[in-house]
């Protein structure tokens, strides 16, 4: 640092830290609890009853008002927040219920009868599954034939109808008058789009009051269901078209409903008496119209679609209609078409009247009778024509049968289920039915009879329906319900005997994946290992695993669900070989991540188990090695977090050396992930500190060598980090750790390294993707660094205050931002350090490390060095202050800087010295010169000085204070 002729003199104020601490101790002043506290929640002691602006909901009445604190967020809302509003309506509804006790019993009974529980898996969940499963690449066709109609309905002139819809409606108009349209060569997606268009047309026709056309669309759509060309698409077609039927059913029901809701809406539990004549007549009209539909299939589907409307006509309507429609399906010659019609009927039946079980049962029994048609000539001829294999054809039935059985089995008594099983046996164990029974019945039911089911599967005819599917369905039930304990092993053996014989790897895998869960649930490592071995054996030839990654992944997930003890898990011989099957990088990393996540969640104890460590290192290495130039930052971060999670769980207890060598190994293994390296440095530093703790601060020769080794580890690791602030902070931290462990030269090296890195700090750094000035970070770091320097003893070979000078030189040479006071701020904050260094006893010190206080023992030469340095710094600061006169902005800065320096002088300078005292007064005046000082702060400062001046050793301050004037702003 350049030496300037010092125009100021510096004398540090002598401090007695001990006494100051004493003075600062609180005297146990009782804290008054005032009425007001800024953090105290707002109390509401009375709430008004508010009518919510939203229709049909009212907020709570005063009964629910309380003194509960009100969340400031909720007070932002206009009125009560929506959730509590719901809660309030519920309570008020409940209240009104209980008020009419007479009604209650009846209502509850109605509810019980009509409501489907949450335990009933709704159709909506099946929909997507079916659409995804039954696909085709073949071309489809839509054959629309609008029957002749008396007179065209006028076009809707309403402007609400979009252009697109209007053209579509016109197209449909063209279809009228007995016209016939065939759309050929549609892809599956085109088909779905067309159907959706029809759905939209239906809604548009309805809303433009063209009810007849709406009905025609629905009839045409349901007719499409009698077409079984491209039979493998049929289940999906069913889904698409029944959507339209649902729409229609809803429209008709709602229309009639609104006809009755004048003057007030019908209650949910309305009876026929509540329905007016017009509504009844309209409803009856619909039924008459539908009854006259010529073809069987549309007549059935459309009537089923508006089944619910029977409620408007008679109490027993639904009860009478369901059996009639059920019987009507017998007229459908194609067994597949009939099965799906039954599925639809059961669906609407369940929605409208789930308590009517008889029709559901009738449907399934009728369905069973039609099974023999499958082997009949008509079906076989069709399959031959379409080149569809029997097993594939049978699979087409499963959604329909599963659904019907699910309806039948829903809350069904055990005897019924047993009867179904018996029927199945009677039908020579029809595999299709057996499969559906296992799918649809409660898992508990299946599980308790698992042995029976295995027997039935064995007896099944192999040709029609593959057995692995049957075992798959059984396995699915056993995965969530437990068979009797004594039978479990036999079940597993029986099942696996069949599964292992499945030739096709895909089929094998689908089934094995299901059974893994049963195995994990009830058996230990040995059995799971056997299963894994079998899977490896099946999936390795011809790299079959490449086609089965999702299933293999699910196997891992299931194992992880049940095995949380990683020493057991990794001692499974075949576990790691199993992982080796994941050869596609992305999948492998995915799997490793899932394992790591479970590890971090469930491994609660630190471990040194070599089995775990080896396996985990292997897994983490896999993750680490997946990182390349293209890896996204987020991905890197998440991988690093997982690896860090592992590293933190590793502990060799008192065997510190092994821990260190683990860190050495980890460093070379995970060198590409910076956060991991940072963690490793922290781990090693912690290791050094633990060693110190064990030795209670007195290192033996061996431990001293060890902590030096730790320091060396950090010293060579830190430079490999790219983040400059990581490096700086770690240098400082490692330096502190080295100092604490009496490794003076190492500490020196760390701190020197930090100082030498300083010039490299860029002026702006990227923080969370945004470029920000690094200045504040740098200042923070330097202040932290300065605080450490107090205890660092001077190096014997270098001059006095070698590190402080080095740092200040770096600060001076650093290219700070233009118009920045950062440099001067560093200078200002260096003064307290220097003042602290000139004390006889330092504020803090490190056990067994002699700081400069002991080294120099208050040598006047040392003190004068300090004072000179201070004077140079103050000179620099003053020079800088002089330059700040150009504009308003710089004068504001001048005022602030002058005031900080004033503060430092006051706290750390010896103001008995006249020159220093004069300087402080000048600074005060300078800071107040242009009225940029905050008066409140100035007043507080004066008060504080006045307070200090009362102490005998500070009496000189009273003179100073006389000369500190408050200048009012002009």
């Amino acid at each position: 640092m350049k030496k300037k002729m010092a125009s100021v003199q510096w004398r540090s104020r002598g401090r007695n830290y001990e006494a100051e601490l004493q003075r600062c101790h609180p005297e146990g002043l009782p804290v008054e609890f005032g009425d007001y506290h800024p953090l105290k929640p707002i109390m509401v002691t009375d709430t008004k009853t508010r009518r919510g602006a939203r229709k049909g909901s009212t907020s709570s009445s005063s009964s629910s008002s309380s003194s509960a604190p009100v969340d400031p967020l909720s007070s932002m809302l206009d009125g009560t927040d929506p959730l509590s509003m719901f809660a309030a309506t519920e309570t008020s509804a409940a209240a009104s219920h209980s008020s009419s006790v007479g009604d209650l019993g009846r209502k509850r009974r109605v509810k019980e009868e009509e409501a489907l529980g949450a335990d009933f898996e709704p159709w909506s969940t099946k929909r997507g599954e079916i659409l995804a499963r039954f696909t085709t690449t073949e071309k489809l066709s839509i054959n629309l034939c609008m029957g002749s109609d008396r007179g065209k309905a006028p076009n809707p002139g309403s402007s609400a109808v979009s252009e697109k819809v209007r053209t579509r409606l016109e197209e449909l108009d063209d279809l009228e008058e007995g016209s016939h349209r065939e759309l050929l060569n549609l892809s599956q997606q085109d088909y779905a789009n067309r159907i959706e268009e029809l759905n939209q047309s239906l809604k548009e026709a309805w809303s433009s009051d063209q009810k007849v056309k709406a009905l025609k669309i629905v009839i045409q759509c349901s007719k499409l269901l009698s077409d079984t060309s491209v039979i493998q698409f049929y289940p999906s077609k069913f889904v698409l078209i029944t959507d339209i039927l649902d729409t229609f059913g809803r429209l008709v029901y709602d229309r009639i409903w609104t006809m009755c809701s004048d003057p007030r809406p019908l209650p949910d539990s309305f009876t026929v008496e509540d329905v007016n004549d017009t509504a009844k007549e309209t409803c009856l009209n619909w039924f008459f119209k539908i009854a006259s539909i010529r073809e069987l299939l549309p007549r059935l589907y459309v009537e089923a679609a508006i089944l619910k409307c029977n409620r408007f006509l008679s109490k027993s309507g639904i009860q009478e209609t369901l059996p009639r429609l059920t019987a009507m399906i017998r007229g459908m010659g194609d067994p597949l078409v009939a099965a799906y019609a039954r599925a639809y009927l059961c669906r609407v039946g369940m929605e409208v009247a789930p308590h009517l079980k008889e029709s559901l049962n009738a449907n399934i029994f009728d369905l069973l009778t039609t099974f023999r048609q499958i082997s009949g000539d008509s079906v076989q001829k069709q399959l031959h024509l379409q080149k569809v294999e029997v097993p594939a054809y049978l699979m087409l039935y499963s959604p329909a049968i599963n659904w019907i059985l699910q309806c039948v089995a829903y809350r069904a008594p055990e005897p019924l289920l047993t009867e179904m099983m018996e029927r199945c046996k009677m039908m020579a164990n029809n595999a299709l039915l057996l499969n559906s029974i296992m799918r649809a019945f409660r898992p508990e039911f299946v599980a308790t009879r698992a042995t029976d089911f295995i027997g039935m599967i064995k007896d099944c005819d192999e040709s029609g329906f593959p057995k692995h599917l049957l075992y798959g369905s059984l396995g699915r039930s056993l995965a969530c319900a437990d068979p009797p304990e004594s039978e479990r092993l036999t079940i597993l053996n029986e099942a696996w005997k069949v599964i292992t014989k499945v030739r096709n790897p895909q089929d094998y895998m689908n089934c094995a994946e299901i059974w893994v869960e049963f195995t994990c649930r009830h058996f230990a490592k040995r059995e799971v290992n056997t299963v894994l071995a079998d899977i490896i054996k099946h999936m390795t030839p011809d790299r079959a695993f490449e086609e089965a990654y999702p299933q293999l992944q699910s196997v891992i997930t299931k194992i992880l669900m049940y095995f949380h003890d990683f020493s057991v898990l990794f001692s499974m011989e075949r576990f790691l070989p199993f992982l080796d099957m994941f050869q596609k990088d992305s999948v492998r990393v995915e799997v490793c991540k899932s394992i790591m996540e479970v590890f971090i969640k469930h491994q609660l104890e630190l471990t040194r188990d070599p089995v775990i460590l080896n396996a985990m290192l292997h897994i983490c290495k896999t993750m680490h090695d997946s990182v390349n130039a293209l890896t996204l930052e987020d991905e890197k971060r998440s991988l690093a977090l997982l690896i860090i999670g592992f590293i933190r769980m590793v502990s060799f207890g008192r065997d510190f050396e092994q821990q260190l060598s683990f860190c050495v190994e980890a460093r070379s293994t995970f060198c590409n992930l910076e956060p991991v390296l940072v963690q490793l440095i922290h781990t090693v530093n912690q290791l050094a500190m633990e060693t110190r703790m064990v030795m209670k601060g007195n290192h033996s020769r061996k431990t001293a060598a060890f902590v030096r080794a730790c320091a060396a580890y950090c010293f060579i690791t830190i430079p490999s980090l790219s983040s400059i602030f990581s490096r700086l902070h770690l240098y400082l931290l490692s330096g502190q750790v080295a100092l604490a462990n009496q490794c003076l030269s190492q500490a020196d090296a760390f701190l020197k390294a930090a100082v030498s890195v300083l010039p490299e700090v860029p002026r702006s750094i990227s923080v969370e993707g945004k470029l920000r000035s690094s200045e504040s970070f740098l200042l923070d770091f330097i202040n932290n660094f300065l605080a450490t320097l107090l205890v660092v003893p001077d190096h014997p070979e270098h001059g006095v205050l070698y590190l402080v000078r080095g740092l200040l030189n770096m600060v001076q040479d650093y290219t700070w931002e233009d118009n920045s006071d950062a440099k001067v701020r560093v200078y200002i904050s260096a003064l307290p350090l220097l003042a602290a260094m000139s004390q006889e006893t330092y504020l803090y010190s490190i056990h067994k490390v002699d700081s400069n206080e002991t080294l120099y023992g208050g040598d006047p030469k040392f003190l004068s060095e300090i004072n000179k340095l201070c004077e140079t710094l103050i000179g620099q600061i003053l020079d800088h202050l002089k330059t700040l006169t150009r504009d308003e902005q710089s004068m504001r800065r001048q005022s602030a800087l002058a005031f900080s320096l004033f503060g430092v002088l006051l706290a750390h300078g010896d103001l008995k010295n006249n020159k220093l005292s004069q300087l402080s007064i000048n600074l005060w005046n300078l800071s107040h010169k242009h009225g940029h000082c905050e008066t409140r702060v100035s007043i507080r400062t004066l008060e504080s000085i006045r307070h200090q001046a009362q102490r005998p050793d500070m009496a000189h301050l009273s003179d100073t204070i006389q000369r500190l004037a408050l200048q009012s702003r002009t």
Partner: protein, 249 residues
């Protein structure tokens, strides 16, 4: 100034029943002579349906030869210089339900190649046995026709089974009788190769506008028949005919 006159039935779709005193063609004055103020004027009216002399009031019926129609006409007489206004509109009459109760008598049937009439080459017919029954042939018009059909055996697969409702009008005239049979409704009850041995329901709702109770008068008859039509996949058409008697209970 133009004046229009309109008759509005209070409920257009209401079915008016024959009144207790039979007579026909009556007229009443709904408003006395006077001035009708400008704007819309609604004049409520009602009159009993009374048949003329000893004639019977038949139900409204629109057929080919036979038409039974009831109309209301409203005349608005106006002074010399303005034209009289007149408007007419139809209303539907249903006869009072008969008090007597019909005891349903089921009719069984069984169709084989041997039972058929009108066959050209009986030897070329495929073998089949179709059995069934109708729950009643005397039907209440507001109740559906019900029964069952069951295919026990058929060498050639079934293509379709249909129910055909036919109306037969017979009219007496100078040359003798004129007879006209019209299909009113055709409903498919089975489609495709239906399973054998399974009873398929017969169910037909009588269409409201095209059916009326069976009518037999000295001059004309309106009768109904049902055909059970079985079409085989080789397009053989097998029909079994059942006359019906419809009534209103």
């Amino acid at each position: 100034m133009s004046v229009t006159l309109d008759i509005k039935l209070k409920r257009a779709n209401k079915v008016y029943h024959e009144g207790p005193i039979p007579l026909i063609s009556s007229s009443i004055e709904v408003a006395k002579a006077g001035k009708i103020p400008g704007g819309k004027t609604e004049i409520p009216f009602e009159f009993p349906l009374i048949s003329k002399g000893n004639k019977v009031l038949y139900e409204t019926y629109h057929g080919v030869f036979v038409n039974i129609q009831y109309t209301l006409r409203c005349d608005l007489k106006r002074p010399l210089l303005a034209k009289d206004l007149s408007r007419s509109c139809e209303f539907i009459v249903h006869s009072q339900p008969q008090k007597s109760k019909i005891v349903p008598t089921p009719v069984k049937f069984s169709i084989t190649p041997e039972t058929l009439q009108n066959v050209r080459e009986r030897s070329q017919l495929p073998r089949f046995l179709i059995r069934g029954h109708l729950d009643a042939t005397s039907c209440v018009i507001s109740q559906p026709l019900t029964g069952e059909v069951q295919v026990d055996k058929s060498d050639v697969p079934i293509k379709s089974i249909e129910l055909q409702l036919v109306r037969v009008e017979t009219c007496g005239c100078a040359e003798g009788y004129a007879r006209d049979a019209t299909e009113i409704q055709n409903i498919q009850i089975a489609e495709g190769d239906v399973g054998h041995g399974m009873p398929i329901p017969v169910h037909m709702v009588f269409p409201r506008l095209f059916t009326c109770p069976t009518l037999e008068t000295t001059n004309f008859k309106v009768e109904f028949e049902i055909n059970v039509v079985v079409i085989l996949q080789d397009d053989h058409l097998i029909t079994e005919n059942f006359p019906l008697k419809l009534c209103r209970v």
